[in-house]
């Protein structure tokens, strides 16, 4: 009996334990970012979020949609708020919402890195400054996107470590002060090259971004201050051009070479790149690069054609060119048209014209029974020109008038000249696979000449502006069978802001930049009205995107913070 009491007392007393938390798989910032080797992990992750934008729908939707260059494929109503400026409310427009999040997530990491680098124990000052240069380049890169898309919103330079639920607006000029300071630091300290890690920010990237930032900053100023920024933009451009050899960058001889998948990796025209790898565990996500599919036209259902690696995945199409975009090119002289667009599809599936197809496609009955030879015969031809004998040609012809109305609006929109710059017959796993693994050129050298030209124009130096542009036009001129180099040259009197925007369209169409160009120059509404008559709802206030409603809802001073005007 006594024993039982003993057992009871023993057992009742034994229950003692530790209530400390044990978390061996967790990791804290203070632990990992306190050594140079660990600190690089904050620098690396600061690159992360831009990879959710470039090469993804977010970047193309916000960088190219809703401009003078594109309209919805099939005149569909997809992403109306961004393409047509219809019903654009702060709680809608997913790229608008996710981009806001991506940008500020990245900025918080940049802030953490910049503020913590002093505690990272760097002994090598050069290395330390390079890492800080990367972080500052990235913070400026993200803030440039924020400032241009949303204007003077929230400018934070500290890491979030408490439940911060208020926010205040900063003037756009404050944004640019920080952006320019960061980029100037980066341009001073970043190395010329990171060798095989070529998609890190280097000095040329910082200078290129600086040129962009000076140029867009200038438009927020007037008078001599403005002139000063245009001068600085030009100076940054000139520095890049002068140091081309040192940076190892140059223009490809032929425009089409820029986008040749063979030249994609470590592209010599690139100033800043997002790299993708066929080793999937190195890629930001499984989507990698999807630019290849959004600009295509439906070809795989057409007589004599089937989906192929060469012609791409045509199952998900969003962008068709406006008639104006096609007309910006003189395709007789300017190789950039053929370098950018696909107009001819060669038969890749044996085919004999049937009575049904002849009827469906409005062909001449004499074609019934006519066959196409794989790899030889043309199966489809889509052109911005008018074709008189399209009925009788032994292949499908879709000409200017079947795509566009006389006033430039789009008729059906099923079939159109397709932008082919981003096509990827090389890295995708199958003809219908969506992820591609080509690198994305975020900034390339040609843009510097255009920035130089715009700055020169704004400084009243049209001759210099023409000279910058002629570098690109010389390359662009067709050389055979007739050499159009001379004919392609422009002179000082040709240079206007609109001309530069036309030239930008010819050179950079589709490259995540058009919306920024129209916004910067104040031409968004006017050029959409002139060149993209299907977009009827755009108004001046659309030069700023709405602050996502989730942001305002989460602020305890949301009402005071307020929405961008017009929304």
């Amino acid at each position: 009996m006594k024993n039982y009491f003993l057992i009871i007392i023993m057992l009742a007393g034994i229950n003692a334990c530790s209530l400390d938390e044990y978390n061996p798989s967790g990791i804290t910032a203070d632990a990992i970012w306190s050594s140079p080797e660990g600190f690089v992990s904050v620098v690396n992750s600061a690159y992360s979020e831009q990879r959710a934008w470039y090469g993804k729908d977010n970047g193309e939707w916000m960088g190219e949609m809703g401009t003078d260059l594109w309209f919805n494929s099939q005149r569909a109503n997809y992403a109306n708020e961004l393409m047509r400026y219809e019903n654009f409310i702060p709680s809608k427009g997913n790229p608008n919402i996710t981009t806001w999040k991506n940008m500020y997530t990245a900025i918080n990491i940049c802030n953490a890195g910049i503020n913590r680098i002093g505690n990272a124990g760097f002994t090598d000052t050069v290395m330390r400054n390079q890492r800080e240069g990367e972080l500052r380049y990235l913070r400026a890169f993200y803030y440039w996107h924020v400032a241009e898309q949303w204007g003077g919103v929230i400018l934070s330079t500290t890491e979030t470590n408490s439940a911060l639920t208020t926010a205040t607006r900063s003037d756009i000029k404050e944004f640019y002060k920080l952006i320019l300071t960061d980029l100037e630091y980066a341009a001073r300290h970043l190395p010329v090259s990171y060798g095989s890690e070529y998609s890190r920010a280097t000095q040329k990237s910082a200078l290129a971004m600086l040129a962009r930032a000076y140029l867009s900053c200038a438009y927020y100023y007037t008078g001599s201050e403005q002139q000063e920024y245009f001068k600085k933009a030009r100076a940054a451009v000139d520095e890049i051009i002068t140091r081309k050899a040192e940076f190892g960058v140059s223009l490809w001889d032929n425009y089409a070479d820029v986008f040749n998948p063979k030249n994609n990796k470590q592209n010599k025209e690139a100033l800043y790149t997002i790299s993708n790898s066929l080793t999937y565990t190195l890629d930001y996500d499984a989507n990698a690069n999807r630019l290849h599919m959004w600009f295509l036209t439906t070809y795989s259902s057409k007589p004599g054609l089937q989906q192929s690696m060469d012609y791409g995945r045509d199952g998900t199409r969003y962008f068709m060119p406006t008639r104006a975009l096609l007309d910006f090119f003189d395709d007789e002289k300017d190789s950039r048209f053929d370098g950018s667009f696909q107009t001819v599809w060669i038969c890749n599936k044996a085919y004999t014209w049937t009575e049904t197809d002849v009827k469906n496609y409005g062909k001449d009955p004499s074609l019934i029974g006519r066959t196409m030879v794989v790899g030889v015969d043309t199966a489809m031809y889509i052109t911005k020109h008018t074709v008189a004998d399209k009925r009788t040609r032994p292949y499908l012809v879709i000409d200017r008038d079947s795509v566009y109305n006389a006033n430039g609006t789009i008729r059906v929109g099923n079939d159109y000249v397709a932008l082919k710059k981003f096509m990827d017959p090389v890295t995708r796993s199958a003809a219908n696979a969506q992820p591609g693994f080509l690198d994305i050129l975020v900034i390339r050298l040609a843009e510097m000449y255009l920035i130089g030209a715009e700055a020169a124009l704004q400084l009243g130096d049209n001759n210099a502006a023409a000279a910058y542009i002629n570098v690109l036009r010389t390359r662009a001129a067709k050389k055979t069978p007739v050499d159009y180099t001379a004919a392609m040259q422009v002179s000082a009197s040709d240079i206007t802001l609109d001309f530069i925007l036309d030239e930008r369209a010819r050179e950079l169409a589709g490259e995540h930049i058009r919306w920024f160009d129209l916004k910067r120059t104040g031409k968004l509404v006017a050029r959409i009205h002139t060149y993209n008559p299907d977009v009827t709802q755009v108004q001046e206030f659309h030069r700023l995107r709405p602050v996502p409603q989730t942001q305002i809802d989460a602020l305890s001073n949301g009402a005071e913070f307020g929405q961008n005007p017009g929304y």
Binding site: A76, T160, T298
Partner: protein, 934 residues
Amino acid sequence: MRASLTILLTICCAATYAQDTTHHPPDSMKVRDLNETVIIGYGVVKKRDLTGAVYTVKKDVIMQAPVANPLESLQGRVPGMDITRTNGTPGSGAEVLIRGTRSIAGSNGPLYIIDGLQGGSMAYLNPSDIESVEVLKDASATAIYGSQGANGVVIITTKKGKPGKTKVSYNGYYGANGYTQYPPPRLGESYLQLRREAWRASLNPGEILPDDATIFANAGEYDAIQKGQWVNWVDLLLHNSTQQSHSVSVSGGTDKTKAFMSFGYYKENGALKYTNLTRYSVRLNLDQEISRFAKAGIQSQINYSTLNKRKDPMSVALSTTPLGVPYDANGNVNIYPVAGNTNTLSPLTDDRGPTVATDQTIGTTVFMNGYLDLTPVKGLSFRSNLGTFISFNRAGIFQAATSLNRASDGTSYSEVTNGNTRFYNWDNVLTYNLNKGEHAITVTALSSYTHKDADTSNAAGIKQVLGTQLFYNLNATESTSRTIKSTYKGSATMSFAGRINYSYKGRYLLQLSERVDGASRLAAGHKWAGFPSVSAGWRISDEAFMRNLRHLDDLKLRVTYGVAGNSGIAEYGTQSGLTQANNISFGEVPAPGYTFNAVIGNTSLGWELSATTNVGVDLAFFNSRISASIDAYNTKTTKLLLLRTLPVSTGVSSVYQNIGSTNNKGIELALTTVNIAQQSFKWTSTLTFTTNRERISSLVGDKDMIDKETNSLLLGHPVKSFYTYQKLGIWQTEEADKAAMLRMGGTPFKPGTIKVADLNHDSIINDNDRAYLGSPVPKWSLGFQHTFTYRAFDLGIFLFARWGQMAYGEFLGRYNPSGEGGGPAFPNYWTPENPTNDYPRPKKGAKFGDYAAYQSLLYIDGSYFKLKNVTLGYTLPPAVSSRMNIEHLRIYATASNIFTKARSHLFNYYDPERGGAESSPLNKQVVVGLNVDF
């Protein structure tokens, strides 16, 4: 506080912890027995002495429906307990709420105690092993479980052996599972017409509608239309399949040794091919008397289960072009059903079998609970319970390049995850029981320690060449694609508690309790919290002035108050940390990155506290032919934990904070009546009724916290509320001018678009026009069981209703306004010729989400009434069965979920219990079964 408990620990007294089981007649048939014991936390009381709101469900009820998870059989049986089936896949569980939602961020599910041990899951139990289930609802009953008690406690007791003749029983059923209701797709002319209308609506002025060849220009589409190749993917995917359960048990023993053992087998085939659950379970419960003063025993169970799942194809089935040739001449699935179109994958692609899509989880769970019971002197008992719950899981995945999951990537994927969970619980309970004249006192003191940890390891790779290797040879994946991960998570709690029960003349009852909990997951300085309760009972019917009320058998008033906590804080919830960023590389050089956790830690977190006042009345009349319990309660939950969304501009997502409070008030009723009690015909009914009003009573900053439509927190409304635009209809042609005066995002409305209320009358529809629409919380629910016996036949009918809630109809958003791809047939859309108010006019290339204020169409009345179960049984007359050496034999047929009537016509093709989700619809079951005792 701890000091006082240590003192309590030294006090002593007794009640046996384990329950003595007697063989009960079917629950609904018997009159109320007040001497029956009821299991409460760490003890038992006689029903007559119970002061808390505790409801008991007996084994017969649990065995009534063919369910994988015995929880589902409690649906509608327990007033105040809201149970809905999670989804229709094999092995899916049930959602359980007791007395509403208190917590926003934390779990609202109850604590499960199986044979005194926490940490297990009811899903693992073989229904025929269960003796009884007690549901503890008010805080006076649950406060003894401290920080885990706020959501109610469900105590499950398994069967034990009894001395005497060894009994062998077989319980089993076999039947069909399926007959799924699902919205049929739009096919044929209706399909063509929708696309044409979308084109017509988008014509420029003066343009004429192009011909069908232009409109249906997707690859191979026009050809398939001309050939009439319409396909109903939903029909082809959903099959009727089988469900069966067999269990054999042996029980018996001597005065000193008692044993119960059982073997169970359960197999359910899902409505999708290759989806199934197979489960084996073995149980051994042993009780051994060591001496007059000491008893020991174990309860143990081992489960082994295999679950085969698939990516739910229902959304794909609804949205894929309903055209093409689904099977080739040999009956094999055509991966690309539309000839010439290699972009549209067949929704049936995973029907090709495991070598295309495998998602298999094998789990072993071991449940072992040993106890030692000492009664050294009369009235004093000590029980030490050491239990453990260990589980091992292996989840293997293989997805071929042409599976639903991987088609867009175009590469195969293989993955294997191994997980181990370890839990142990050590309780020591001292009980002292003293009866002196008219005074009875029971003192209980206890300590409890729990420890839980889990680790996982995971490896994955792509491009494995042979599908037949499934996930068994990850070495065959591309080496550069492989990823490995491992995780660890652990926590511990330490608790002390004491309770005093006092009864005077069996007429005046009082209970006091206090529990103190310490938890590792809370930060230093906040680890400990106390949970008190007090309750009183008055058996009015025992008073002298009630004696002359002849027909009143029992009348008891119960008043209770207590505080319980909700363990809504996850492990490491107070710590800030980093997570691995998405993969980063520069060129071909990998560059590991760390980024901030989306949730930042908060070291000042504490438990949510739910204080409940409960007033209950128990009644019995006419020899207990009518008996009822009525409870009214008011629960105030404070220090509410919320994963507060931070402004996106902070760069992190959220932080846990103790903010705000909620309030739940409700009334519960359980009424059992014996309507007819003749020799050969009996009819009894049990009605349970629950109404609960749930609202958020305060929030930080005293303002609504607006998030997405389904996530906003609104003062004065339930935690889960829907907040968006309020649909009025569709703008009609004659309203064109009025519509044009109203704008959204700068764009004017026009006929055929959605008409929503302009709440602030500013002619602009924007986020200020959002309002509370409703909540998925029902206004009331009701269960109504009727049991008829006529000679050897018995018939049970169970009705269930859940009323007044709103549903988020995910499938309502499958309206496909472009007519590209597929969609359900039911949406009646506006055209100039069809001035409906249901759905807006089609629009070329638009998704439903592109419409202004489309959200307003997704929320509808979710009320429904259900004929949940009908069972017809026949028991072999004892005279016949005894001749066959059979003690008892009953055969029965049960149909479950057979008939549902929803209030909204939009639920006509859908079981509303699923709540509106489009994946994994619910099935019906029809089984025949056999119970035999030898």
